[in-house]
């Protein structure tokens, strides 16, 4: 649910990075944070455990510039990927405008990816959303690691609806901004359509 403020002439949108534990959601946000001009970003907040696993969410506010006199602001959130934090994931999906599913390309994580994607679909449905109707992109992360599944295979498993998808190495930034731009663009396009 975008928040459009005619008084301050702002459009605020919420993008959620979803995916299995340790797939690199927080790393995506950290890279965006590190590479964004200070005037275009706010503080990055991470509610994490002592071992730096996301406990509730990460949050990064970004300003993308003006569009027809309206400032566009994107609030990026990650969910905790670990299976047992499901209640928190549901809360973070509330009011979502766009979703980026971050898949871990390693063969050993295939099941975890599938399970997380199913969980995303279920949790969205609980909030009254349909993943197929939401601005949505997929990122195949960790492409630099040795035992990764071919992209074609990942695409077949995780992206049957053929939404925009990107290969990434979030630690070095490969594909990170491509993914963000794609989902942000889809969100704005949906707004334009009067969604």
């Amino acid at each position: 649910m975008s928040f459009i403020n005619y008084s301050s002439r702002e459009i605020n949108c919420k993008i959620v990075y979803y995916g299995p534990g340790l797939c690199g959601k927080t790393t995506n946000l950290q890279y965006i944070y590190n590479k964004t001009n200070p005037e275009a970003k706010g503080k990055m907040i991470s509610l994490a455990t002592e071992t730096e696993r996301t406990l509730f969410f990460d949050f990064l506010p970004l300003s993308l510039g003006e569009i027809r006199g309206f400032k566009t602001r994107f609030h990026l959130y990650t969910v905790p990927g670990q299976v047992f934090y499901d209640a928190s994931r549901k809360l973070i999906l509330k009011g979502v405008d766009g979703v980026c599913f971050v898949a871990d390309s390693q063969i050993a994580r295939t099941e975890a990816n599938i399970e997380s994607l199913e969980n995303l679909r279920t949790n969205l449905e609980e909030q009254g959303y349909n993943l197929d109707k939401l601005p949505y992109v997929v990122q195949y992360n960790k492409r630099d690691l040795p035992d990764v599944a071919p992209v074609a295979e990942l695409r077949e498993l995780l992206n049957p609806t053929k939404v925009p998808d990107y290969e990434a190495v979030a630690t070095t930034g490969v594909g990170v901004f491509d993914t963000l731009k794609a989902v942000a663009k889809l969100v704005l396009t949906e707004l334009k359509r009067g969604g």
Binding site: N5, L47, P61, A87
Partner: protein, 161 residues
Amino acid sequence: MNGNFVMFEEEQRQIQSTCDRLAKDANALAVLVIDKNGQEIARSGQTEHLDVTSLSSLFAGNVAATGGIAKLLAEKEFAGQFHEGEKTNVHISLVAQRAILVVLFDGHSSLGLVRLRVRKASDELGRIFEAVITKMNKGGGGTPGLFGEITDDDIDNLFNE
């Protein structure tokens, strides 16, 4: 999508004026009104030194988590929360199931006074939000009027490095 939330100038002014009055009447340090999804709607008082964007997201997370707890305990909701700090105290309440009203105060005020003033302000804010929603439902919140003019080029231009 599930529709957008639109704030209009008239109601924004009313919310601002309610916040200003609450900050004064409750002798508060600051008052924030936040959308349940974590977007700031209004602020009043001594907010220059506050990171309102981060606070909005965290207060919304806090309220969402508390709402989740209420659901698990078969409670409708926990209407209010109070955090006591060494210098700053925080009173958080829900308004019209739509917004979060946050009052920051110190020893110059008291929880009793804040609660009293919040009750009155909440009623006012509730009425204003109802008006916003009525306006949105009547089509005043329709985005095509404004956003229909946006071209694909406008969107692309946002991303040109």
